[in-house]
């Protein structure tokens, strides 16, 4: 079973992601409330997939993606974002260029999340 790391500063949303993923059969999930903690957890245990928010206090997502791909260039990352100065696509484009395998613009629904995760993990 794939091990998944969730990084998001929004606790309510993290809980939701966990619940959705668990419903889809992914039960090996760890959570981090910001990039620093995410990177720390990643160094401690290997993960098959990282799902990270982009706009977070302290260490934001783009920086986190750079560090994670530095640790493991093959790591599969889904970047999520709800906005930026112009719109969510702005940050997501950058994230994709810097190593995110897939992007999800918030708000997204259950099947968008689960389909993306399935697809990426079966590659």
């Amino acid at each position: 079973m794939a091990r998944i790391l969730l990084i998001d500063d929004d606790e309510q949303f993290r809980m939701l992601l966990r619940k959705m993923l668990e419903k889809a059969g992914y039960n090996d999930i760890e959570e981090a409330n910001d990039g620093s903690m995410g990177v720390k957890l990643f160094r401690q245990h290997p993960f098959d997939l990282v799902i990270t928010d982009l706009i977070m206090p302290d260490k934001e997502g783009i920086e986190t993606i750079i560090e994670l791909t530095g640790e493991n260039p093959q790591i599969k990352i889904i970047a999520m974002s709800g906005g930026g100065r112009v719109g969510p696509q702005d940050y997501l484009e950058t994230a994709k260029r810097l190593g995110a395998s897939r992007t999800l613009a918030k708000p997204f629904n259950y099947s968008e999340l689960v389909d993306t995760v399935h697809e990426l993990l079966s590659e």
Binding site: Q12, L16, K19, P57, R85, P88, N109
Partner: protein, 639 residues
């Protein structure tokens, strides 16, 4: 005292010649010098013997020769000539001489030459020349100036205006403008009060700089003018006239407005980014939990998912209040609150987002921490100050200290600020051990858009909003900082010596009805359904309608059926206010509750003035609606 011997005539002449200031010379009929007084050497540099035998004509300036000769010829008839001309000095430069000549005749009465008396008037001529040049310069400046220049009487007539002045105001010439404007106050000023103010300042101060007012052009168009004026007095200190210059600043004014608009748009753009981000997060939770709830077979789990949806709705509602707080048009909800709660909550939130290298210390007084305040705004103040403090220490780590203590400010420990009144205060201190700031930055930190953070880290609006909130609570904020020695923000809020009421327990049973009939009107179908659902659950009978005109018809059909009207404000056809007015014509005593989102048209005070018994701001909470309906119906029963 002895009198000198009487000199003979030759001696006498010599004494005069040697001592005279002016020059005398004699020319023969051909213009050749045969007598030259010694004073020539002092004035023109020539010794008499150098000039004797030479022709006077040779010494004249080329431009003056013709005029001098012609004057001499004329003198043959009149016997006398008077002329001013340039004469060459021995060193080559020309001197201005003023000369008078008389004809000399020999013993037979034949013309033999002239005797010329002359004086050096170079200095006078140069002064005259300078004056002429200066007048020419002035005239040139006056005529070619881009700014309008004027002289006017204190009573309000133009004495003179230059070409530019006339051009600015659309007149063909200065003369046309002077004639057309018979009364400056009436024909020139758009607002006569401006003219009165202008004259008053000049009477009191004698001059004015950059006086801005709206003036009227010949074609009636209004333009903005900036005016500099000084006053000219007579010897008795009475004002004779005003003189000055004017500039058309209409374009500048419009540019300033455009700039202001651009800044506003930039702020809106920045905010829109932040709002989108927060809203999308909230929407994600709403969508996700709703989806989960829809396919959740276990009722307990489903309820838990739905609670999360409701929590998201609360977050959205709070976000709206924050946006409104930002734009300063919020319906601020100030009530008696224990400030220790928002401070504790904000710090709790912050802990999860703060690196472990930063230690957080929270010291809150055990009692006496009540103030009249808006909870959302207080939360915002603490969050903002703490976030800045954390930011200042994020690289080095350090200690964040948040203190909330009661303070009785007397004369001795009051702030130096002139509007700080002694009395009971609550002091909120946010201290960090970060990089600190120098005086230049300290002066700027409350300015909107000022930030030391990078582009993606902050808008620079935070502290200016904090400042606005503190001032809005009749409080004060000060900052102490030194580079490398941390920063302390001190917020003083007026303390209320009372205990804040406890927050209502959300789990507490809500007040229900017993079949009272409610007419519920809102043009949004979804909200009507929601309202009906809530009210029916509470035990009321509900007639709902999305069209306000139809609502009125329904009411008129059977006015006695209804116990209460709950209506939205902004609706097509008829507003909530109009609807209730019409309904009250039939049943003046029927109670009404207004539910509305933010609207410039209505606020709580206006709603009450308009006769509504309660005002609820959307989005409406179940409990809020339940309480309002119950209270209004109870009041009705006691009447």
């Amino acid at each position: 005292m002895s009198i000198p011997d009487q000199p003979n005539s030759e001696q006498f002449l010599r004494i005069i010649m040697d001592n005279m200031v002016d020059m005398v010379n004699m020319l023969d009929a051909n213009g050749i010098f045969y007598f030259v007084s010694p004073s020539h050497e002092r004035i023109l540099g020539y010794r008499p013997e150098e000039m004797i035998g030479t022709n006077a004509y040779e010494y004249l300036h080329a431009e003056d020769k013709e005029r001098v000769v012609s004057s001499f010829i004329n003198s043959l008839a009149t016997g006398i000539a008077h002329e001013i001309f340039r004469f060459r000095h021995k060193d080559g430069r020309y001197m201005w001489l003023e000369a008078s000549s008389n004809l000399i005749y020999d013993s037979q009465g034949i013309f033999a030459g002239v005797v010329v008396g002359s004086r050096d008037v170079t200095k006078r001529k140069e002064a005259e020349e300078r004056l002429r040049e200066s007048e020419e310069n002035f005239r040139s400046i006056y005529n070619n100036a881009i700014d309008g220049i004027f002289q006017s009487t204190p009573e309000g007539r133009f004495l003179s205006v230059n070409q530019a002045f006339a051009r600015i105001f659309g007149y063909a010439s200065p003369e046309e403008m002077i004639t057309a404007i018979a009364d400056i106050s009436v024909h020139y000023y758009v607002n006569q009060e401006d003219r009165k103010r202008y004259v008053k300042i000049l009477e009191e101060q004698g001059s004015i700089e950059g006086f801005e007012f709206k003036a009227r052009r010949k074609d009636g168009k209004e333009i903005w003018i900036s005016n500099n004026t000084w006053t000219i007095y007579d010897i008795n200190d009475r004002i004779i006239r005003f003189e000055g210059s004017v500039k058309d600043i209409t374009e500048q004014k419009s540019l300033a407005l455009q700039l202001l608009q651009a800044q506003k748009m930039e702020a809106v753009g920045t905010m829109a980014g932040g709002i989108a981000h927060d809203f999308n997060n909230i929407l994600s939770s709403m969508i996700g939990y709703t989806e989960l709830a829809m396919c959740e077979p276990d009722e307990k789990e489903r309820l838990s998912d739905l609670q999360q949806v409701l929590r998201s709705c609360d977050r959205a509602k709070s976000l709206i209040s924050r946006i409104l707080a930002f734009s300063r048009i919020s319906a601020v909800d100030r009530r008696l609150v224990d400030l220790s709660n928002p401070v504790r909550e904000a710090v709790k939130l912050l802990r999860s987002a703060t690196p472990t290298t930063i230690q957080i210390r929270l010291n809150i007084a055990s009692n006496d921490t009540t103030a009249m305040a808006d909870l959302t705004q207080m939360h915002q103040v603490v969050m903002n100050l703490c976030t800045n403090a954390v930011h200042a220490m994020r690289e080095t780590g350090g200690v964040l200290e948040v203190n909330l203590t009661p303070l009785d400010a007397g004369q001795d420990n009051a702030l130096t600020s002139p509007d700080f009144k002694p009395g009971p205060y609550l002091l909120l201190e946010v201290k960090d051990t970060g990089h600190g700031m120098d005086d230049t930055i300290v002066k700027l930190i409350f300015d909107p858009f000022f930030t030391t953070k990078g582009a993606s880290e902050g808008t620079g609006l935070g502290l200016s909003v904090v400042f606005g909130i503190v001032k809005g609570h009749d409080g004060h904020i000060t900052v102490q900082s030194k580079p490398g020695r941390g920063t302390t923000f001190s917020v003083y809020l007026p303390r209320i010596q009372a205990t804040a009421p406890q927050e209502t327990d959300p789990g507490q049973k809500v007040a229900g009805g017993s079949g009272e009939s409610i007419l519920f009107v809102d043009d949004e179908e979804m909200l009507v359904k929601l309202g009906r659902g809530m009210l029916m659950k509470l035990g009321y009978t509900v007639s709902d309608v999305t069209d306000s005109s139809l609502a009125l018809e329904m009411f008129m059909e059977d006015p006695e059926t209804y116990d209460l009207v709950v209506t939205d404000m902004t609706m097509p056809c008829m507003t909530g206010l109009e609807l209730v007015r019409e309904i009250r014509k039939i049943r003046p005593e029927i109670p009404a509750i207004l539910c509305t989102g933010y609207s410039e048209l209505i606020n709580e005070e206006k709603a009450k003035q308009a006769g509504f018994n309660r005002f609820i701001l959307k989005p409406v909470h179940f409990r809020e609606l339940a309480d309002a309906v119950r209270d209004v119906l109870a009041e009705q029963k006691t009447i």
